[in-house]
């Protein structure tokens, strides 16, 4: 009986979590270790210091059912250097990609598509150009897919940063 079937059977969904942590050595391994020890997923993780403070913000994208997400949030809160954990409901998310192409491609085609994804050519050498784009995660994945036809030499993604609306 225990009316928690809704809890166990809830659907697996994607969740953006931001974690404010003390800047101390080991703190990243505490977070990552927690996820691996308890079998939780990390789809994306970004970290940067918060200006003028002793804290950093980590933005973690994970997947799980409601029970798993609740446990992740509670387990993160339990870590001593964690100040605050936010389970985001309504956020702006941005992901950045850098892509390198051979200079022999049709550069204007590349430029036009990049612009459609809020991107632009960042760097040009004798052999290659580098394009960057910043957009929502889904659109960035689409951008990477579209650009495959220009045979990218290298693709680097930043991971997600997010802010509550």
């Amino acid at each position: 009986m225990n009316n928690f079937n809704h809890y166990y059977d809830s659907e697996i969904s994607r969740q953006v979590i931001s974690v404010i942590v003390l800047n101390e050595h080991n703190v990243l391994s505490r977070i990552v270790g927690l996820f691996s020890a308890r079998g939780y997923n990390i789809d994306s993780l970004t970290v940067a210091p918060i200006t003028d403070s002793q804290y950093s913000r980590m933005t973690i994208v994970t997947t799980g059912d409601k029970r798993v997400i609740d446990q992740i949030v509670k387990q993160l809160n339990k870590l001593i250097p964690v100040l605050k954990v936010n389970e985001h409901k309504n956020v702006i998310e941005k992901d950045t990609v850098l892509m390198k192409f051979s200079i022999d491609n049709n550069l204007s085609d590349i430029d036009v598509i990049a612009r459609a994804y809020h991107g632009s050519i960042q760097n040009v050498t004798d052999e290659a150009i580098i394009v960057s784009a910043t957009d929502s995660s889904a659109r960035i994945m689409n951008f990477i897919k579209v650009m495959q036809k220009f045979n990218p030499l290298e693709v680097v993604r930043s991971g997600i940063v997010a802010m509550e609306r």
Partner: protein, 565 residues
């Protein structure tokens, strides 16, 4: 005052009121040991293996409720300590463990006896520190004691590089600390408590499910009071043995895999399970979706992650158990409750119909008998430690516990080799009292930390080890018999030392008994001698621990004993 890092360690331990440290020296921690040599603040007990140092500190902490302290060196000293840390972590025992580390200038270069200690201890401690600057050292030790002993207690590990213990700086020990990132929720939510109390008042078959948290928060008195005022029956987990007191008319036994019939049936039939400091461990619940399946659940725990980890409660309450139970008692007078007499009577019937029992014999000593016998002869005078296996379950079942912290066992991690060093820590805590530290152990477990007999003898810590010798790794043998068609793979311990000679070689007293009369004489003699002792009891080889809920079964699907007294 300016002083070295090593002296700071000693001064900090003194400031924390530490009276005993268990440890083992080595290269990277030598500066600290030099200061230990010079001081008179605390006793240092030299164990013969770092694992035993940590477990001895645990035994001391479990018996007293104070923070246990252990000091070890880097590399192998630390890796030996890991099992003890993990054991303390699983059972939420407050410890501060200090390890030496290679100098900061060497860290990362695979130096002699270098290991990434904080990397290893991270998943088996509540928190850990690598001290990078001597200025941080006093604060870190202060924080370590604070974190170990507050909220849900646990072990804290402090790794100190050798050059830090040699450097000199001003010693300022913080009188208090404020950690913005660590604020355990101590006070319950009042609305939630009210809802929970209403649920109790509406219940017909409420049951207190008491866990180790009741021991850790020292609230046995309050829980007994709550049960008595409302006439609610109670069951205990392995970790909570002693909280209710076995003579208590509202106590119906330990529940779980080897729990008593009445306790398991109570959990199966209750309509309101009131979990007080328990965590729905798999050894308690059996098949989870059948556990307390007719019940609404109130779950009180200081650790939010314990709540809804395995079972989602209808009434979650995060808070200190003592404070919460006190508030529950206060709320009683303003409310009306059902009469639970019929429910209590039903459990009494269960208990009379299927009491814990075994089939005694006059030809051979049954392993349960010495446990009962010590209970009759020493009762509340003995603090009982155990190792892990069949003897542990029999002790939990058959020893008459009457107060909390009388029962010292490795519950979560199930560490063989726990008993002797833990009982040593207990014996240290009992110095100056007339209580006796008993370790019930098996012929498998006792050999895992046997070197600690030397420590007991050196420091005159009179642990009485009662080895229930069935020449088997008994619990594994039982599973092999029951679930592996009796293929006894690597569990026959016919090759054995002469236990009597073994303990005598260390300077203790030894006995080998094969009859009940001999056992009584040996126990009396061991208690009177007040020396480290070992009583080897030759017991029936093929006895099973019963009742038993086989893995994956519900609690009401117990294998019971047939016949018996």
């Amino acid at each position: 005052m300016k002083m070295t890092g090593a002296k700071m360690v000693v001064e900090s331990l003194h400031q924390e009121g530490v009276e005993v440290v268990f440890g083992y020296p080595g290269g990277a921690i030598m500066n600290v040991y030099d200061e230990i040599y010079k001081q008179n603040y605390f006793q240092h007990i030299l164990n013969r293996h770092e694992q035993a140092s940590i477990i001895a500190a645990e035994g001391y902490a479990r018996a007293t409720g104070k923070v246990g302290v252990s000091i070890v060196t880097s590399g192998p000293g630390f890796t030996n300590a890991v099992t003890g840390l993990a054991d303390a972590y699983m059972d939420s025992i407050p410890l501060v463990v200090i390890s030496g580390q290679v100098p900061t200038t060497i860290i990362g270069s695979d130096g002699f006896q270098e290991i990434d200690a904080v990397g290893i201890s991270r998943p088996c401690t509540k928190h850990n520190y690598l001290v990078n600057r001597i200025e941080d050292l006093p604060r870190i030790i202060k924080e370590a004691f604070h974190i170990a002993s507050t909220g849900r207690p646990g072990p804290v590990h402090v790794d100190i590089p050798k050059d830090i213990t040699a450097q000199v700086a001003e010693f300022i020990y913080p009188s208090e600390i404020n950690l913005p990132t660590y604020k355990p929720t101590v006070n319950y939510n009042k609305k939630q408590l009210k809802r929970a109390m209403e649920a109790i008042s509406n219940a017909k078959k409420p049951l207190l499910y008491v866990g180790g948290g009741a021991v850790l928060s020292n609230c046995a008195f309050e829980i007994r009071e709550l049960a008595k005022k409302l006439n609610i029956p109670a069951v205990e987990t392995l970790m909570a043995r002693g909280v209710m007191g076995d003579e208590n008319p509202l106590f119906f036994g330990m529940l779980g895999m080897h729990g008593e019939f009445s306790a398991n049936m109570a959990a199966h039939e209750t309509d309101l399970l009131i979990s007080l400091g328990a965590r729905f461990d798999d050894r308690v619940t059996g098949r989870l979706d059948e556990f307390a399946s007719k019940a609404k659940i109130i779950h009180v725990d200081i650790d939010p992650t314990s709540i809804a980890k395995l079972v989602v409660p209808d009434y979650p309450i995060v808070g200190d158990l003592k404070i919460t139970v006190k508030a529950m008692i206060e709320a009683i007078d303003e409310m009306e409750f059902n009469d639970y007499t019929n429910w209590v009577e039903l459990l009494k019937d269960y208990r009379e119909k299927e009491p814990l029992r075994y089939i005694d014999s006059n030809e051979v000593i049954k392993p349960q008998w010495p446990i009962q016998r010590v209970g009759q002869l020493l009762g509340a005078k003995a603090i009982i430690s155990t190792d892990v296996g069949q003897h542990q379950m029999w002790t939990a079942q058959f020893y008459p516990f009457s107060y909390p912290r009388q029962w010292i066992t490795s519950g979560g991690l199930g560490t063989m080799g726990f008993g002797l060093p833990a009982a040593m820590g207990v014996a240290r805590a009992l110095v100056g009292t007339d209580k006796v530290s008993i370790n019930f152990t098996g012929d498998g477990s006792i050999l895992m930390n046997i070197q600690e007999l030397m420590t007991c003898v050196e420091y005159e810590l009179p642990v009485i080890n009662i080895v229930l010798n069935n020449n088997y790794l008994g619990m594994v043998r039982q599973w092999q018999t029951m679930f592996y068609e009796n293929r006894l793979s690597q569990t026959d311990l016919s090759a054995q030392p002469n236990f009597k000679m073994l303990v005598e070689a260390f300077g203790g007293v030894g006995y080998r008994v094969t009859t009940k009369e001999e056992f009584d004489i040996a126990l009396k003699d061991a208690v009177e001698k007040r020396k480290p002792a070992m009583i080897e009891v030759v017991v029936a080889r093929h006895e099973e621990v019963l009742p038993m809920v086989p893995n994956g079964h519900a609690l009401n699907e117990m294998t019971l004993i047939e016949g018996g007294k």
